[in-house]
């Protein structure tokens, strides 16, 4: 259909401006990560110095290790809990189901600053959970298990459940049915939720900030601590990695999906 009015000219122009707004800061960051300027705010010739720097930086290496470990454990724990929960919510009717659903939504809807603060108070003043790996992982799972639940739950409606009934009908017990039928059928949904949770956990600053304590930290917290010393080129470099990784991840996922379709 042809719309011969001004909107057809205004729309593309405004879209370009919006994309510029969304991407310009990031593009500048990536470009400046190759700049010879010590503070990383001006272009002073090409260099790979800062990349060499971060490879040799023990603090960054440790932070990266912690970020990856936390994200990995979080993904495993929250997809297990989330898948079980989604299955229970989808398949069974029970007393207090509605209440449970609302409760699961709570960690997603309560402001991060409240969740983070409340967990900090809880860990330090009520139960003694050391700040570090345990506290960060618990905080992350608290947020991402509900996320996994709703991602998996959302896809359950599109699944042909007669397969499971057939399996039970053919004499398989609950565990066998899960292993042979339910899990394979749910796998795409589980992968989708993992693909959402891993980058979230890896990137999270706002909740981690409250429960990380002092000492070893995750990469975003490390970046934040560097910010206090003003702009440095190292932040640009780490930032570039943070931008490039999800782009590669998303592209890969897109490719995989296309392969599956064809």
């Amino acid at each position: 259909m042809e719309t011969k009015n001004i909107t057809s000219k205004i729309l593309p122009v405004s879209a370009i401006l919006v994309y510029l707004f969304l991407w310009l800061p990031t593009i500048v960051l990536v470009v400046l990560s190759f700049s010879n300027n010590k503070f990383g705010i001006k272009w002073e010739g090409f260099t790979l110095r800062w990349y060499a720097d971060i490879i040799n930086n023990v603090g960054i290496r440790n932070a990266l290790k912690m970020s990856l470990t936390v994200a990995l454990v979080t993904v495993v724990l929250s997809t297990i809990i989330g898948t079980l929960t989604a299955y229970g919510l989808y398949k069974y009717k029970f007393h207090g189901k509605k209440f449970l659903r609302t409760s699961i939504l709570l960690p997603i809807t309560v402001p991060y600053v409240v969740t983070g603060g409340a967990l900090l108070v809880f860990f330090t003043r009520v139960v003694n959970i050391p700040l570090g790996y345990p506290s960060i992982i618990i905080a992350h799972v608290t947020f991402s298990a509900p996320l996994a639940t709703f991602v998996v739950l959302g896809r359950m409606g599109r699944i042909d459940w007669t397969l499971e009934e057939a399996s039970a009908d053919l004499g398989a017990n609950v565990l066998t049915t899960w292993r042979k039928v339910t899990l394979p059928v749910l796998l795409p949904a589980i992968i989708a939720s993992a693909a959402l949770i891993f980058p979230w956990s890896f990137d999270d600053f706002t909740i981690t900030y409250f429960v990380c304590g002092i000492g070893t930290t995750t990469l975003p917290i490390y970046v934040f601590s560097q910010l206090r010393y003003g702009a440095t080129s190292v932040i640009n470099t780490i930032g570039t990695i943070f931008v490039v990784l999800p782009v590669i991840g998303l592209l890969l996922m897109n490719l995989l999906q296309k392969k599956k379709v064809s």
């Binding site: 079980l84 309560v110 108070v121 003043r125 998303l250």
Partner: protein, 298 residues
């Protein structure tokens, strides 16, 4: 008699057990939520009513002083600002996001996927890094000021950072993808024959937009609003980085009390108030039909 009674009991017990088959599934999350959501929130609620000792220790005596403190004009101002900024951010995201989503859907085909990709990717990269990038770009020595100075449009650098404008800019920057996404989905789901019918019945493109397209994508707008307005209410990173001490939002008050001042009861009372407001707004939007919309999106 007695034997039949015990059989009945046994049957009842067996039935009870078989009725609890859902427990292995929803048990773990229930325990987790109880331990790490309800308990901490309960503790926060409890602490918010406790007095603070001279050395910052929490005393076991009841008080409403932290809530009373919040009636101070500075606090009220911060809460008002939080509300206005969130509302403004939501409106700006809607005004920018709707046309963008509309444009992307109309592009169709390969372009559509690519353009949507460009919207989604930022929401998958580290929030902190993106905000830092925005900060360097808009700072006094940043690219924007440099460019404007070089072009001779300004004679001294514009003070963008640490202004309300910078904070709202940061909020829009951070939340725009979450407005575009649901609107895009609802526009995509629009039956094209409805648009043709509207045109066929005599609606000009503009009329068609306001009588058919917009009302039928209300769900997307509502979902986008839930995804933008509510998180902005609790936002603290954007004002901290771009607003500094001058332009604080409610979240910053909590962070300040908890981390910088170590006054747990005072921070808790602010957290309680903020959470109450957020939950109330969510409740209202669910009543307005947001739940259905959000579920469809998932």
């Amino acid at each position: 008699m007695s034997s039949s009674k015990s059989v009945g009991l046994r049957e009842k017990a067996a039935k009870f057990l078989s009725d609890q088959v859902y427990l292995p599934y929803v048990g773990p999350i229930s325990i987790w939520i109880l331990l790490f959501v309800f308990a901490p929130l309960g503790v926060v609620l409890y602490f918010s009513f406790l007095r603070v000792g001279p050395f910052g220790q929490i005393l076991n005596s009841f008080t409403l002083e932290h809530y009373r403190l919040m009636l101070k004009p500075t606090y009220i101002q911060v809460f008002m600002r939080t509300f206005v900024f969130s509302f403004g951010t939501n409106i700006i995201c809607l005004l920018i996001g709707y046309p963008l989503a509309y444009f992307i859907v109309r592009c169709g085909g390969k372009w559509k996927t690519f353009l949507m990709f460009l919207v989604i990717v930022p929401s998958w990269t580290c929030y902190l890094i993106r905000l830092y990038a925005l900060k360097t770009l808009t700072g006094n020595g940043g690219l924007i000021n440099e460019a404007l100075l070089n072009l001779g449009l300004i004679s001294s650098p514009l003070n963008i950072l640490y202004t309300p404008f910078a904070v709202v800019l940061g909020l829009v920057f951070g939340f725009l993808p979450f407005m575009v996404l649901p609107i895009y989905a609802s526009l995509e789901g629009l039956d094209p024959s409805l648009l043709e019918a509207s045109e066929d019945l005599g609606a000009t493109p503009l009329k068609r937009f306001f009588t058919v397209t917009l009302p039928l994508t209300k769900g997307g707008i509502l979902a986008g609003t839930i995804l933008v307005f509510i998180p902005s209410l609790g936002e603290w990173l954007v004002p901290m980085l771009l607003g500094g001490a001058k332009v604080m939002m409610a979240g910053n008050l909590i962070e300040e009390q908890y981390i910088k001042l170590g006054n747990i009861p005072a921070g808790s009372s602010i957290a309680v108030v903020l959470t109450t407001i957020v939950v109330l707004i969510i409740y209202l939007s669910v009543k307005m039909g947001g739940e259905e919309v959000l579920e469809r999106m998932m």
